[in-house]
Amino acid sequence: MDLWNWLEYGAWGLSALFGLHMAIDWLKTDSTYSEDVLTSSREGELEAMAEERKGH
């Protein structure tokens, strides 16, 4: 066992940690907010607002 063997294990461990963090946060987010809120982003929001401002 030299340093690189430990680094291998470290890399496996860190990968799992990052993956787990994303997975947990993802499930938590999906159960906290309604689907309508999460998918409420619309394309061209900026353009629509700029237009509206011109009109007033």
């Binding site: 690189w4 291998e8 990052f18 993956g19 982003s41 394309e43 401002r53």
Partner: protein, 478 residues
């Protein structure tokens, strides 16, 4: 509505707990530059040298410059269209507004595949780097590269998941270091500072054009690798504070940086490494700038270029995750793909489902396919995208002439850049055909099948008029 500030960072009309959750506008021109150059710069650290193998050192230089012209056209055309169509999804959204839904679906897939494959190629290279460093520091036995490949993808996906500002600030720092490393290598080996070790004339003697002129054509295939990905700057359109200004500026500054970096890279590498070794990216020079540093005899340069190579692969993979997920997200938002992907994280304001979904896809390719196949898949998707751009700009100018919509940037000499681009794309198709004809046909077969799938099945879930979101007048001729 007078108090609405469309450049506001905190209040863009979609508060986190309001009715709408959108991407966050926090980026400046430097981030756009970092996104564009960060994705591409890895191409100078590895991959471009396959062009040397295809036709010799001179052929690689000619390919470098012709590909430079191709990408200058891409950058100019892209800057004009995107300064008007500023939306996540980039060329996908452009195609949707200018050519039509099926073209948009194809362009969206080109983007996702070009970037996801490039991300896989970067992860493979990073894993290989760890392997080489382990060998150099006296590790007994073979290092298992897989945990490092997975870690690169997981870490960068996690960074992307947590927010775009940190992601691209990270990219800005490591891209700048990788770029400076090339400049330092050039200054210290070319004779400008201290003794030069360049031997171009002696190394080229007898091997000027080993394949003749057809080698120059063949070299165009990997000539694209010097710049592939610069068009990805447009994906940041919904996250920059002032798209009409920052996108053209960041993109054009990016292509200039790359033209300099590509030429310097060719100069130092071809002046030190014999072409047969330099041109074989598998058995010969996997990381040519790093090999050049090794032959310079300076330990400091070896370390600098070693870190430069690692940083370049990380920056590129990072930018690829960013771009691929934006394109995937934008298609989900329009129901071109299942609407489930069109979600934005309420706290981090990132397209988190698209980011997570593309992780296993990237892993399949990074762990399961050979590097040159992955690179070719990426180049082909990119090439199909560049072929779309001249059609795009010609139709854009025809449907909305200059006086009908105000552009943030107008590219000069239209239609010369479009025609040049189309011609160079045709040449590159031929170059790809010379080496990888089967893949080319398999790939286009794939796009034909998914196009039919989209037109006859998937398109029924798409809102017709509502997907046209730009506040433009009716196009001419409709």
């Amino acid at each position: 509505m007078a108090d609405v500030d469309i450049t506001s960072q905190t209040m863009d009309g979609m508060g986190p707990h309001g009715t709408k959750v959108g991407l966050l506008r926090v980026l400046g021109p430097a981030h756009v530059w970092a996104l564009g150059v960060g994705i591409v710069l890895v191409g100078e650290y590895m991959g471009w040298n396959f062009a040397v193998g295809k036709g010799g050192a001179y052929a690689a230089l000619i390919a470098c410059w012709f590909a430079g012209i191709l990408y200058s056209c891409v950058a100019m055309i892209d800057s004009e269209v995107t300064s008007t169509v500023a939306s996540a999804g980039g060329q996908y959204t452009q195609a949707k507004h200018i050519i039509g839904p099926l073209m948009a679906f194809n362009v969206g897939l080109y983007l996702v595949f070009a970037y996801t494959m490039l991300e896989a190629a970067n992860a493979i290279t990073a894993g290989y780097l760890f392997y080489v460093v382990a060998q150099m520091t006296g590790h007994a036995g073979d290092l298992d590269q897989r945990p490092f490949i997975i870690l690169v993808i997981m870490f960068l996906a996690w960074l992307n998941y947590r927010g775009v500002l940190a992601t691209l600030t990270f990219n800005l720092v490591i891209t700048a270091i990788a770029f400076i490393a090339i400049i330092v290598l050039f200054l210290s080996t070319s004779g400008i500072l201290g003794g030069g070790i360049m031997e171009h004339a002696a190394l080229f003697e007898g091997h000027e054009l080993p394949y003749g002129w057809i080698g120059v054509l063949a070299a165009m295939h990997f000539g694209l690798w010097y710049y592939l990905g610069i068009e990805g700057t447009t994906q940041a359109a919904e996250e920059v504070r002032s798209p009409a200004r920052a996108l053209p500026f960041g993109t054009l500054a990016g292509i200039m940086t790359l033209l300099i970096a590509a030429t310097l890279t060719w100069y130092v590498c071809s002046g030190v490494l014999p072409w047969e070794f330099l041109g074989d990216g598998v058995n010969g020079s996997v990381a040519p700038l790093f090999d050049t540093a090794r032959l310079s005899g300076s330990t400091a340069l070896v370390w600098l270029l070693g870190f430069g190579t690692l940083f370049a692969t990380l920056a590129s993979a990072n930018g690829c995750i960013n771009d691929a997920s934006r394109a995937w997200f934008a298609m989900g938002r329009d129901k071109y793909l299942p609407g489930w992907f069109g979600a934005v994280h309420p706290k981090y304001r990132t397209p988190y489902r698209a980011i997570v979904f593309l992780v296993p896809i990237a892993l399949i390719f990074a762990l399961g396919a050979p590097l040159d196949q992955v690179i070719t898949f990426s180049i082909l998707s990119g090439l199909l995208g560049y072929t779309f751009m001249p059609l795009n700009i010609i139709l854009f100018r025809r449907k909305w002439p200059l006086e009908t919509i105000k552009r943030g940037y107008e590219h000069p000499f239209h239609p010369i850049p479009a025609i040049t681009l189309l011609t160079l794309c045709a040449v590159t198709f031929f170059a790809v055909f010379l080496g990888y004809g089967t893949q080319l046909v398999a790939m286009i077969g794939f796009y034909i099948v998914v196009s039919l799938w989209f037109h006859f099945w998937r398109y029924r879930f798409v809102n017709r008029g509502a997907q046209f979101t730009m506040p433009w007048p009716k196009p001419r001729g409709y």
